[in-house]
Symmetry: C2
Subunit: 263 residues, 2 copies
């Protein structure tokens, strides 16, 4: 792969939207955006000032780098179709945290994974430079070239194999999905009691800001870590109409006591 | 209570440290800091340029407002001792989210709760103006006077009764304690797999920043909400050496599916 590679984006969703702009600015030449959805392909292609395509058979066959930015369940199917249309020397990478690299192995000798560890929404402005990029290539010779492009895109690039990436994706579920759900519960409890959900926002902000200075183990407070049983019993009584949240409260409190409690 | 009340702080911990400075700057005259610990009392009194005391019998008897900023389990005991030394007309308030106002009722006619909804550490700089203050007074006539001082301290003041405050404290456990614990798990998974915990920080920051624009229900993503069973099964296999986190993963995923999943 040359220093200024020709790049084809397969997919025009949230990841493609942010990554595509950064690639076009710093990484190389995005020469085509493919999506089954003409609207999505056209919108992103317009933003990147390049052609759009809705047919895999029509995308450039001799680009250097094909990035599969599609849902996990579509990667295999798209790869199989793509193989018929592009050069066997092309480098093809998917961007999924949860999918092994070798789903691409039957189709492309030069393959790998380009996993940006972030939650993307088209509507939000994001400093892409801060997104950690986790890279893997099946051929050792491909790694340095991908890394050198990646380092122009972001501050922090990591070499991460399949097993590590799967664990990282799992950790991200705790940090993103589950953390968000706890905010849902917190706001729901407030709203059920005629209190505005925004009341909790300063507490949430400071909870997270503290982690710039402290490890989560150092920052942990609350009834569970100090084994304050009367407070926990009052909380469980308040949760009596929410059996699911009651179980969660118990499970989280037991986890805190077990992992972080004073032995 | 006058517009510029004389205030005694009972307690010199994290809450007193931040609240005391804001009271001295905007609320009135802090005339004494009491703590059983001479070191804590002296340090805060020096910061506030007022006398320190380590004996309840020696604090000013005729101040307007006594704030009990002590651990929940100490409130009743301190109140009982305090009663012997101060004017029966004084207003006495505790600052606990989890404690009913009426623990003070046996001792003081004018009592209430002054609950700042935030996590405080002496080491951290905090914009106190952003801290929501949740107020309650047993005597209706006391409320307006406390509120008018409180509004000089912070942007947002809420009138919150015992039941609402208990629920709010419960919600705060989800938003602060449990959220922090999920970050512990995320970092622990990373570190067990030789990945730096800081890798997850940009994802956490964006997870929280998104909630400026979206409700948690709108922001929810991940395998649980889309019922992606193969991904959840892979995650559970990765957690096989962590039975506690396995239960949590299942419980949180079931909660997301039940509360937020597409029906």
């Amino acid at each position: 792969m040359p220093d200024q590679p020709h790049i084809v984006l397969i997919g025009a969703g949230n990841v493609a939207w942010h990554l595509g702009q950064q690639l076009q600015a710093e990484g190389g030449d995005v020469v085509c955006v493919y999506s089954r959805s003409a609207g999505s392909a056209t919108a992103l292609a317009k933003l990147l000032d390049c052609p759009a395509s809705t047919e895999l058979s029509e995308i450039p066959a001799t680009a250097d780098w094909y990035l599969l930015l599609v849902p996990d369940s579509k990667i295999g199917g798209v790869a199989e179709k793509l193989q018929a249309h592009i050069s066997p020397n092309a480098l093809v990478m998917h961007s999924s945290g949860a999918t092994p690299a070798n789903v691409l192995a039957p189709y492309f000798m030069h393959h790998g994974v380009f996993y940006p560890l972030q939650t993307f929404s088209k509507e939000r402005v994001l400093d892409f430079n801060e997104v950690p990029l986790c890279l893997y290539t099946a051929q050792e010779g491909d790694y340095q070239r991908v890394e050198s492009v990646a380092k122009r895109l972001v501050k922090n690039v990591y070499r991460v194999g399949d097993e590590q990436r799967a664990q990282l994706h799992l950790a991200a579920v705790f940090v993103n999905n589950f953390t968000n759900y706890l905010q849902y519960i917190g706001q729901a409890i407030s709203q059920e009691n005629q209190l505005p959900g925004a009341l909790l926002q300063p507490l949430l902000k400071e909870t997270i800001a503290k982690l710039d200075d402290l490890t989560p183990a150092e920052a942990q407070t609350g009834p569970a870590i100090r084994n304050d049983i009367p407070t926990m019993e009052r909380h469980l009584a308040l949760l009596k109409d929410h059996p699911q949240w009651t179980l969660l409260y118990k499970q989280l409190s037991m986890g805190i006591a077990e992992d972080l409690g004073k032995k």
